[in-house]
């Protein structure tokens, strides 16, 4: 129970910070909308809806990257991470709290992005939304751990996309499969498997990322 209380407190801290400073979420919203507009000009006028659905996944992944690169900014600049590591709670709670707040930001960005996509390009079904939800969980889990890793390196924000994109390729395969194929259940199952596997690895290994 203590563990869940710690996680809740950490996630609430991030959401409250965002509510007061409004650093990340407006940037993510604006970014995802501009990307959708860019897609309209990228696609030839007679291209199919399927191509637009594929590009939506590009928008989701890059919007997530934008949010993730700021995820540990406050912790690093103000030295908060040392305080959190010294706090008498399990270190994996730091990861879980941060992943939950990242997930919340991503979900809020998509609450705007998906209707905008439906308005601009049309055609969003139930399997696609399920795919987006499952993909968000995987992106938040893996991305949060990699963001902590990148924050510890000299290259910082530059490193995060390099670390994240190869690991995001299975998410994209599953998400695109769930949104365009006639058999989405297989791809949704695959996304669920990915989420479970990587969430366990991240949960178990986060301690080693923030401590020496």
């Amino acid at each position: 129970m203590m563990y869940l209380a710690d996680v809740g407190a950490l996630a609430r801290k991030d959401l409250r910070l965002e509510l007061r400073a409004r650093d990340t979420l407006p940037a993510m919203l604006l970014f995802v909308l501009s990307t959708l507009v860019v897609f309209h000009f990228v696609l030839p006028s007679d291209s199919s809806e399927l191509a637009a659905k594929g590009l939506l996944w590009v928008a989701i992944v890059f919007t997530a990257l934008l949010g993730l690169s700021r995820a540990f900014a406050a912790e690093r600049e103000q030295g908060v991470i040392d305080g959190l590591v010294l706090a008498p709670s399990d270190r994996s709670a730091i990861w879980l709290g941060k992943a939950l707040s990242v997930l919340a930001f991503l979900a809020l960005a998509e609450v705007v992005a998906l209707p905008a996509f439906a308005l601009f390009f049309g055609g969003i079904g139930g399997p696609m939304i399920a795919g987006v939800v499952l993909a968000d969980i995987g992106i938040a889990a893996v991305g949060t751990l990699l963001a902590a890793m990148a924050a510890a390196s000299r290259a910082r924000e530059l490193l995060l996309p390099l670390l994240f994109l190869p690991l995001a390729i299975p998410i994209i395969v599953g998400g695109v499969g769930a949104s365009v194929t006639s058999d989405p259940a297989r791809y949704l199952g695959f996304l669920g498997l990915y989420d479970a596997l990587f969430a366990i690895i991240c949960w178990a290994s986060f301690e080693y990322v923030v401590t020496e």
């Binding site: 510890a152 290259a155 299975p170």
Partner: protein, 216 residues
């Protein structure tokens, strides 16, 4: 004989690798039958052997990474790094040989339908990022931990990618399978030799740096 072997393990391993590679080349060209794809199919023996060797290197690097995190084993960090370095070299060779094969089979240098090639491209990108991570963190226990965690991600990424980019196994006749096994053994021995050579070099490097620090 046995004391010589014990003192010159690396030389013996290198000799074995050389003998096996010679044997596999001879078997590939003079023993294995030419099948319906024609002569260009021969590169398959090297391509698949190299690919499996790359997997073995990544798995070995992942195992050593687990030792770093689990047991706090300091020397395992270097071993994990060297194994992954060898894996990336063999992975690049897989891409090159696969590309050559695709060129003669389908007429293009790149073939998105060839699952093994796509898989190795993803793994190549992943492990290239491993080096970026490693070289942007100052040496020390922090770097060992970060590299080890990322290497463990790689071990999970391999089966997940295989699931995502479905591949089907080749079917081989008996003599083809024997040739394949010899060439796989040759590649594995070669990788083991290169692993030990690089590890010895890197260890000397570390030792030299320590001595320099001590003299200062």
């Amino acid at each position: 004989m046995s004391t010589w072997l014990r003192n010159n393990r690396l030389a013996a391993l290198a000799a074995l690798a050389f003998a096996l590679i010679t044997a596999s080349i001879a078997l590939v060209f003079f023993y294995a039958p030419v099948d319906s794809d024609g002569l260009n199919q021969k590169i398959f023996y090297f391509h698949v052997g190299i690919a499996l060797t790359a997997y073995a290197c990544f798995a070995w690097g992942g195992w050593k990474a687990l030792r770093v995190l689990w047991k706090g084993d300091d020397s395992a960090d270097l071993e994990s790094y060297v194994a992954i370095h060898q894996g990336v070299i063999f992975g690049a060779l897989t891409l090159v040989t696969g590309s050559i094969w695709a060129r003669y089979r389908w007429g293009h240098w790149w073939e998105w339908h060839e699952d093994q090639l796509v898989l190795f491209l993803v793994l190549f990108l992943f492990y290239a990022a491993y080096f970026m991570l490693r070289f942007s963190v100052p040496a020390g226990p922090r770097r060992a931990n970060l590299s080890a965690v990322y290497a463990l991600f790689g071990v999970a990424l391999v089966p997940v990618s295989i699931l995502a980019i479905r591949r089907h196994g080749p079917n081989m006749a008996g003599s083809q399978f024997f040739t394949f096994c010899v060439s796989l053994a040759a590649m594995l021995t070669l990788a083991a030799t290169l692993y030990h050579v690089e590890l010895a070099g890197k260890r000397i490097d570390v030792r030299l740096r320590e001595l320099r620090e001590a003299l200062r």
